[in-house]
Each structure stands twice: as C-alpha cells, then as structure tokens.
C-alpha cells in the first residue's frame, strides 16, 4: 500500500521538518529573534489594552480598589454606552471644544509658525543664537508650562498679565483669564455662537499657553523644510523681477506644502490627546474629550462610559493617522 505514494514527492512531515531545519540554520532565525521582542511589547502595551478597553466599553463597568489592588465588575449592556455617549449633549460640547482648541491652534501655527520659520531663515546678526533660543520653550515640561501660564494668567491683580495691563492702564480691574466666561459679551448672538463652538476666555488662554510650547517645534520643523528649497529658485525669480510676495507664493508655499501638511496632521493628533495643560489648570472646567473620558472613569467611576469615549477618540485619531501615513508613503515615492 505504501507503494501508492508517487515517486519524487516527499511525505508531508519531512517537508515540514526540512523547512524548520532551513529556518533554524539560516540567518533568518536572527531576524525573528530581533523582531519578536518589539512585537510582544506592542501586543502587551497597545493591542491587549485596546481590546480590553473595547470590552469594558460594552458593559457597566466598575472597579473597586484598595491600595492598588482591586476587582472589576462588568454587566454586559452591549452598545448602550456608545448610544448614551453619542446622544449626550455634554459629549458633543466636549467634541466642539476639542475641535475649537485644535482649529484655532492650527490656524496660529499656519500663520505665526510659518512666519517665525521664515524669520529664522533670514540673514541677520545673531541668527544662530536666535534659532537656539526660539527652540527652548519646547523643552520645558508640559506641567511646568502649565504652572507658568497659570501664574501669567492669574486672575488677581498680581497675575503677570494683569499686572502689566493694569500698569499700562489698558484695563481698570483684573481680568480672570482662566474663567470659562463667554467671549464678545457685548453682542449676544455672536457670544452664544462662539460659546457653542467651544470658545471662551479660558479656552483662548489655554491655547496661548499651549502655543508658547508648541510653536517652536512647528517653526523649527518648517525651517528644516525651508532649508531644502534651493536658493537658485529665488535667484532666478529675482532676475525675472518677481516681488518678495510673489516669490513666497510661487516658490515657498508649493515647496513647503508637503512638510507643512505633515506637521499639521501630526499636530492635530497631538491636540486630540492634549490633556496635561487643561487638566493642570482647569481640572474639569474645560471638558475636552480626553478630560471627559478621564473624568468619567476616574472621578465618576464609570469605566464603561470612559472607555467608550476614549475608544471613540482612539478611532478618530487612527483615522487621522491613516491620512498621515498615506501622506508619508506618498512623500517617499
């Protein structure tokens, strides 16, 4: 009966051992040995937690802890948490707050950030030192930055900004910069609309404090982009008699475009995860999405709802990440 095996075809088990032997003896074993630890780490710190967060978001999850040890209880409710979150006005206010925070920050970065990058690219006395100094705020830890702007925006008359404005008689009484008061209070409909969008005095102060720390990295990355533009282009344009504005529009903007868009996508994702500054100065006063998720889980104990919100934020940033990665691969070709 064994004769029925066709000549020239190895039995299956021999093929497998043969391949195993090849794999072990070749250099490929080194490849796997070098790659596997990173994959294990990725699975442990990203994939398992994400799956677990999704599982928690499908139930009324509570966690009871004593001294770092606890127990979890989860009652299956299906997608109810998502329904609750998506039909809650608080969630949508937090969503608009987050969008306001991101859009205004990005507008500042496109205008002022590009401006500072262009400035750093000019020739002037002390340019090297200037480039180093401009970069420094990015190194200041976020919490320190938050504390610093908390002192600047202090609502008493000894807050740094209030002190300056009072001395110059620009204001008569101290302004509470970190108060979530509406803007444009003189014009009711505009004021209501801007509050609906998420704008408030405190939000604008937060944006300024955040930009102090992030404009430097935007400007420095854009400067690196500017330096890749060959000087000959500008020389040729000058020979042709193009004005500075024309040179900016016809050479700088199109050639800076790709790196600008990548920096902006990266910043959008950072803004989605912005937490430290607002949490440090406002606690729960300005509920952007990350604050909302944190508060649901850690101060209300609704781990299911908190997970649902953070899962939604995760999906949102993964969508933006896909745009970013596509852009990167396009740049490569």
């Amino acid at each position: 009966m064994s004769l029925s095996v066709p000549v020239g075809q190895k039995p299956p088990h021999r093929r497998i051992t043969h391949r195993l032997f090849l794999a072990l003896s070749s250099e490929y074993i080194w490849f796997y040995l070098l790659l596997i630890p990173s994959i294990v780490l990725l699975v442990c710190v990203v994939i398992i937690p994400m799956v677990f967060a999704f599982k928690m978001s499908l139930g009324n999850t509570t966690v009871v802890t004593v001294g770092g040890k606890g127990s979890i209880q989860s009652v299956w409710v299906g997608l109810q948490n998502y329904v609750n979150v998506l039909s809650s006005p608080y969630f949508w206010q937090a969503f608009r707050d987050t969008v306001y925070f991101s859009v205004v920050s990005l507008l500042i970065e496109v205008t002022v950030g590009v401006g500072i990058a262009l400035l750093m690219n000019q020739k002037f006395f002390g340019r090297k030192v200037f480039r180093v100094i401009v970069f420094i705020p990015w190194a200041v830890p976020t919490v320190v930055n938050a504390m610093l702007w908390g002192m600047v925006f202090d609502g008493d008359n000894y807050g740094a900004l209030n002190d300056l404005l009072l001395r110059m008689h620009w204001i008569q009484t101290p302004v509470i910069w970190l108060n979530a008061a509406p803007l444009f209070q003189g014009i009711p409909w505009l004021s209501n609309f801007v509050s609906w969008l998420g704008g408030s005095v405190a939000m604008n102060s937060m944006i300024i404090g955040d930009e102090w720390r992030t404009l430097p990295i935007v400007a420095v990355l854009l400067l690196a982009g500017l330096q890749t533009i060959p000087n000959e282009y500008y020389e040729a344009a000058r020979v042709e008699g193009a004005s500075a504005w024309r040179q900016f529009r016809a050479i700088t903007v199109p050639l800076l475009g790709p790196i600008l868009s990548i920096v902006l996508i990266l910043r959008t994702m950072q803004l989605l995860r912005a937490f430290t500054l607002i949490f440090t100065l406002q606690q729960y006063g300005l509920p952007i999405l990350s604050i909302e998720a944190y508060q649901q889980a850690f101060s209300f104990g609704n781990f299911g709802t908190g997970s649902a919100i953070s899962f939604l934020v995760g999906i949102l940033s993964l969508l933006i990440a896909v745009v970013y990665i596509k852009r990167l691969y396009k740049e490569e070709m």
Partner: protein, 288 residues
C-alpha cells in the same frame, strides 16, 4: 531706495525682538518668581525683579532631608524621573533599532504593514490607553504588584515611543546601502558583527536623535504617573510639580523653583543636541 532698505532692516530686527520677547519673557518671569520670597509673588504692583530676593526656594529642594519633607519628595521624584526615562530610552533603543533593522533588511512579506502598525500605535492618544492600563494593572495583573512602580511606567511609556523609534530608525537603515554590509560579510564577518561594527556606527546620528526624543517624551509624561503611580513610590518630576500646587495656597515661588530645576535637563539637551533631534524628526516622522 536707501530708506526702503533701512525700513526693511528695521522691520526684520523688530520682528526678531518681538519673537525673542514672546519666547524669553515667560522664562524670565519664571526665573524671578523662583528667586522671590512668597510675599513678593502676591503684591501689586508686582516686582519684575527678584524682590525680595531669596535662595530659599532652591535650598528647600536639597536640604532638610527628612521623611516627606519637600526635599525628600523632590529628590525622589528626580531619581524616579532619571531612572524611568533612562530605562525607557535604553529599552526602546535596543528593541526598536533591532526591529527596525529587520524591517529594513529582511525579505519578508508584510513588513511594510508591520511598520505601519507600529507607527499607528505610536499615534494613539494617551487617553485611549490609560483606562485599560489602570484597570488591567489593579485587577487581573494585581498579583504582579506593578502598581506604583517604575517598572510599570517604563513598560507603558514604551507604548508611546517604540513606534517612533522603529519608524525613524528604519529610515536610517534604509539609507545605508546593503552592499556595504555584503562587502563586510564577504570578508567573513557574521551578520551580527557587521550590524554592530558597520551599520550601527553609521546610524549613530539616528540613534542619538531617537534616544533623546524618547528621553524627552518620558521625562515630560504626566498622565501615566497621575493614574498609575500617584501614591508614594514611583511619582516623577511633573507629578511632583503638580502636587506642589496646594489646594489653598499657591506657593508660586516654590513651584517656579521646582519647575525650573526639572526643566534644566531637557533645556540642556535641546540647546546641545537640538539640531540632531530635528534632523531625526525630519528624516523619519516628517519626511522632508
């Protein structure tokens, strides 16, 4: 014509001065606040010099070392920050550059997909992960006693660095021609020797840039210690600064001193190595 040239120069230097003021005024304010006595921080008009002057805010961070004194907490936070950030840097550089090397060199199906998954993992927001990190640590893994330890922080910090390290380092490995390695191997060097002796020295700028980036992000991390190490052991400098902000009393002068001390290492890194960090970022995360 002459007037136009001078007005252009004037405009240039005026903008330089405006940007310098915007950058340095807050830092100057932090510095003078850290050198004031408390009363100097709550009087109007505010003194814009360190007045009344004292070194005391810095001195309390280093003297009077007893259980739960301010210097005790500061020095522990400093030590924890140094340990956790350095360990994260080393772990991520070793694992990340090994993986990046494979993803650059191996003829393997799906290696682009793997690289992209690593990069995407790095782009996830912190908030999407802190809740499961916390719950997993205190419930299913509570037998491992990881809560409030540097070990836990190092492992979870990696979720925010590993993808970036792999992405940037893969770019550096890709830029080194494979022929260089093959030449070494023809001369009898094994793959590991050629990696260590030939390839790694060539990627040194990339290693420096990614290492410093990892160090800076770990040094800056506040959310993870807030959730995972808030009690007494593994809290880091940002958490220490945050906890100085008392409920009833804002000792701005002490906060400023602690804040400046914790900002010194990253500021030195950025002044000395800023150029490498930027070239690493533009070579990897921001192709330019």
């Amino acid at each position: 014509m002459l007037l136009r040239r001078y007005s252009k120069k004037f405009l240039l230097y005026a903008s330089v001065i405006v940007v310098l003021l915007w950058t340095l005024a807050p830092l100057y304010f932090l510095l003078i606040t850290s050198l004031k006595q408390y009363v100097g921080t709550i009087t109007f008009p505010l003194s814009w010099l360190a007045n009344p002057f004292t070194w005391q805010n810095y001195a309390v961070m280093f003297t009077n070392y007893t259980q739960d004194s301010i210097s005790y907490r500061f020095l522990h936070a400093l030590l924890n920050s140094l340990i956790a950030s350095s360990a994260t840097t080393i772990l991520n550089l070793v694992l990340g550059s090994a993986a990046a090397y494979v993803l650059s060199r191996a003829r393997m199906r799906g290696k682009n997909i793997i690289t992209m998954i690593f990069l995407a993992s790095n782009l996830l927001p912190t908030v999407a992960l802190i809740i499961p990190f916390y719950v997993l640590t205190v419930t299913y893994l509570s037998g491992w006693n990881l809560y409030d330890t540097n070990t836990l922080l190092v492992i979870v910090y990696s979720s925010f660095s590993l993808g970036l390290v792999i992405w940037i380092m893969r770019g550096y490995f890709d830029s080194i021609p494979a022929e260089l390695e093959e030449a070494a191997r023809v001369d009898g060097a094994s793959r590991i020797v050629s990696l260590l002796r030939i390839i790694l020295p060539l990627t040194a700028p990339g290693l420096l840039a990614t290492g410093l980036l990892t160090f800076l992000t770990s040094w800056d991390n506040f959310v993870l210690p807030l959730v995972l190490a808030p009690d007494s052991h593994a809290y880091n400098l940002p958490f220490f600064i945050y906890s100085l902000n008392g409920q009833y009393l804002h000792l701005n002068n002490e906060i400023a001193a602690g804040g400046l001390l914790s900002a010194i290492p990253p500021i030195i890194i950025v002044i000395l190595f800023g150029r490498y960090i930027v070239s690493g970022m533009t070579a990897g995360a921001v192709k330019g």
